[in-house]
């Protein structure tokens, strides 16, 4: 837009100012041309006999007078054409001038013939001269103005075509999928863009390598940490047995070690859920059956907090199965993390509701609790890595590493599902909704 408008504006400005300038200089040139013509006509009229001059009144736009100058006597009019009065209209001095008569303004030229003291006055109507010049010059500049819209169209077309590879590049970069860092390639890459495309591709390559290194390092570090943490846990446990007088401090130490172990496990889970790791492991899974399995696996923790959990299935009138295309490990992790989250934030004796329902072309998983809930302003950030509502000084006193919901979002994105956070149906509490595309629906 900027290029088209500024190019067109500059084109119009230059062409139109040139046209106005051309008109001005054209008119000045025409004036000079008409003057030299009048001069020649005055010269020619010198040779016309005075008797013949009176008969030359057919030409309306040119008039002549013949005067005789005698020394010491007033100038005497010898003859004149019928369209000019028989009086002195201008001073009889050689050269150009202007006079008004017969209702018009005239350009005059006084010519001293040099024989018998005869002076010729030639006059031409300025309005006719002006109109003639005006018509000719306007005829010349009108096409310039009329054809300008075509130039505008051409500019628009050429600029648009010239910028198309740039648009294509922007589109490719914009359309890049999550963590997709493959090189961009254009159908037709002009020389001016080659450097840009090369630089972008080199940058993408460096970024991909950096991601790889980061991922490998984190996964390796987490993996290597597992054994020492396990040893640490055993040792702390042994110390607690041996040193009952330090039981309180050692319990805090044990909780911290547990938290560290949880964090390491979650980091490893995140690594296992990268697109490269998941690639090709998708299968048709019944979300309802999977939720049942996960609830059964977590039942001890729920029971320990005397919470009430219910699984509600709404598969519609046709009893459709809640089938989704997913990786089993990933989907189990998603449901477990949501359930763990609900268990953590629901007070003892509270309620947790897991719902699986089938909508048109989609399968919806709801996990609701009657904990404190999440205020709308904080909802967007809960899915960020290492983010915990209210920071580490969490009011619930629940331990956690802030990775569980980040993993949930990661899994949802990898399965093309969308995740929403709202208020639960209980008096208070949060509701996490994950909407999957149903397997067997159109386009899946």
């Amino acid at each position: 837009m900027f290029l088209v408008v500024t190019t067109l504006a500059m084109l119009v400005l230059v062409v139109f100012v040139s046209a106005v300038h051309g008109y001005r200089s054209g008119m000045a040139e025409a004036e000079r041309l008409f003057d030299s013509q009048l001069q020649e006509q005055a010269h020619l009229a010198t040779g016309v006999a005075s008797e013949q001059l009176a008969t030359l009144d057919k030409v309306a736009n040119i008039a002549f007078q013949h005067w005789r100058l005698a020394p010491g006597q007033p100038a005497r009019l010898l003859a004149h054409t019928g369209n000019i009065p028989a009086t002195a209209l201008i001073a009889l001095e050689p050269g150009f001038g202007h006079a008004n008569f017969s209702g018009y303004r005239w350009r005059t030229y006084v010519h001293f013939a040099g024989r018998d003291d005869v002076v010729v006055v030639a006059a031409a109507r300025t309005d006719i001269r002006y109109r003639l010049a005006d018509n000719v010059i306007i005829e010349a500049i009108t096409p310039v103005v009329l054809w300008l819209p075509l130039s505008g169209l051409l500019v628009w077309f050429v600029v648009g075509r010239g910028l198309r590879p740039l648009g294509q590049l922007a589109e490719q970069l914009h359309g890049k999928q999550f963590r997709e860092l493959s090189a961009v390639a254009l159908d037709r890459c002009p020389a001016e863009l080659e450097t840009v495309v090369d630089s972008v591709n080199r940058l993408l390559e460096r970024l991909r390598e950096a991601f790889e290194r980061e991922k490998r390092f984190v996964a390796d570090a987490a993996h290597e940490l597992r054994t020492p943490i396990a040893v640490l846990r055993v040792q702390v446990h042994n110390f607690r047995e041996r040193l009952p007088e330090h039981a309180a401090e050692l319990r805090a130490l044990e909780a911290a070690v547990e938290r560290m172990q949880h964090l390491v496990e979650q980091i490893l889970t995140l690594h296992r859920l990268s697109p490269e790791q998941l690639h090709g492991r998708f299968a048709a899974l019944d979300l309802h059956a999977l939720a049942q399995t996960v609830i059964a696996a977590c039942y001890d923790a729920i029971e320990a907090r005397r919470q009430h959990v219910e699984l509600v299935a709404d598969t519609g009138a046709t009893e459709r199965r809640a089938l989704v295309a997913a990786d089993r490990f990933a989907l189990e992790t998603l449901v477990r993390n949501l359930l763990d989250n609900a268990v953590k934030y629901t007070p003892e004796g509270g309620n947790i509701r897991v719902g699986v329902s089938c909508g048109p072309g989609e399968v919806v998983l709801d996990v609701e609790d009657d904990g404190p809930g999440i205020v709308p302003a904080a909802r967007e950030r809960v899915f960020e890595r290492f983010h915990r509502v209210g920071g580490d000084a969490h009011a619930s006193g629940v331990s956690g590493c802030g990775l569980g919901l980040a993993i949930v979002r990661n899994i949802a994105e990898l399965h093309g599902a969308r995740i929403e956070l709202g208020d639960s149906r209980f008096a208070s509490g949060a509701r996490f909704t994950v909407v999957f595309r149903r397997l067997g629906a159109i386009g899946v």
């Binding site: 408008v5 500024t6 504006a9 100012v17 106005v20 009108t142």
Partner: protein, 255 residues
């Protein structure tokens, strides 16, 4: 006739185009919206047409100086609206003052063009020349406006806002001075002393004179009242801009 048409249409069109482009640039920089401009232009063109149709009636008002008085009132109204813009409570509330300022400026300048063109309705022989002259004048004026718009929005944000503020203050000063001149012509205020005469150095009807007239309100022979109105309006408006906002806080998005 071609040159007369070009000069007249260019003079009015350039004045309107520069005001429109600076306010549009201000809007893009400040409110990040340019949707109001279509409504403002449409209202301005419709208003100019209505005014031109009723020109004869208006000119009979106030003892046959109606046109001068109404035009002066429009100039002062634009000044008032620009003052409201400078003293705006919030960036978002600036849309209405800008819409009204552009609409009034287009009514004022569009009216002059329509009035001139209406004189040729009966003279069929002159149509092509008048049309060509109008196209040339309008083309140059609109192009200058478009280039000014991109010049302002293309600058770094702080400098662009400052330049837009200076230009808006200059336009307001110009409007105030023109309003005073119209009231002098209507004999509502005395002519006053002529402050300078630069007609020989830079004629008002030269291309540069026209451009400077549209941009900074150049007058070859201004009266003391015009100069006073110009300087007072410029200082008042620019002072308000300086007091209300520094370019750095000009972000109207709230984020």
């Amino acid at each position: 006739m071609l040159l007369t048409t070009v000069v007249l249409v260019l003079r009015e069109m350039l004045e309107a185009a520069l005001i429109v482009s600076v306010l549009l640039a201000w809007s893009v920089l400040h409110v990040r919206s340019r949707r109001w401009i279509g409504a403002a232009l449409a209202a301005g063109i419709a208003g100019a047409a209505v005014y031109a149709v009723n020109a004869a009636t208006v000119s009979e008002w106030f003892d046959y100086v109606g046109m001068e008085v109404v035009n002066a009132a429009m100039q002062f109204a634009v000044c008032a609206v620009l003052l409201a813009l400078a003293a705006r409570p919030t960036a978002r509330a600036a849309t209405w003052p800008m819409l009204i300022a552009v609409a009034l400026a287009v009514v004022r300048e569009g009216f002059e063009i329509l009035l001139y063109l209406s004189g040729f309705i009966a003279d069929r022989g002159a149509w092509s020349t008048v049309a060509l002259g109008s196209a040339l004048g309008a083309g140059i004026g609109i192009s200058a406006g478009a280039l000014l718009f991109y010049l302002v929005v293309g600058l770094p944000r702080a400098r662009a806002l400052r330049l837009a503020q200076v230009l808006i203050a200059l336009f307001a000063g110009n409007m105030a001075a023109q309003g005073v001149l119209l009231l002098i012509q209507a004999d509502w205020i005395p002519g006053g002393v002529q402050v300078w005469n630069t007609g020989d150095v830079l004629a008002e009807d030269s291309v540069l004179g026209q451009l400077l007239y549209a941009l900074v309100g150049y007058e070859a022979t201004p009266s003391i009242w015009q100069v006073t109105a110009y300087v007072a309006m410029f200082c008042l408006l620019f002072g308000l801009f300086l007091r209300r906002s520094t370019p750095a806080d000009g972000d109207g998005s709230g984020r």
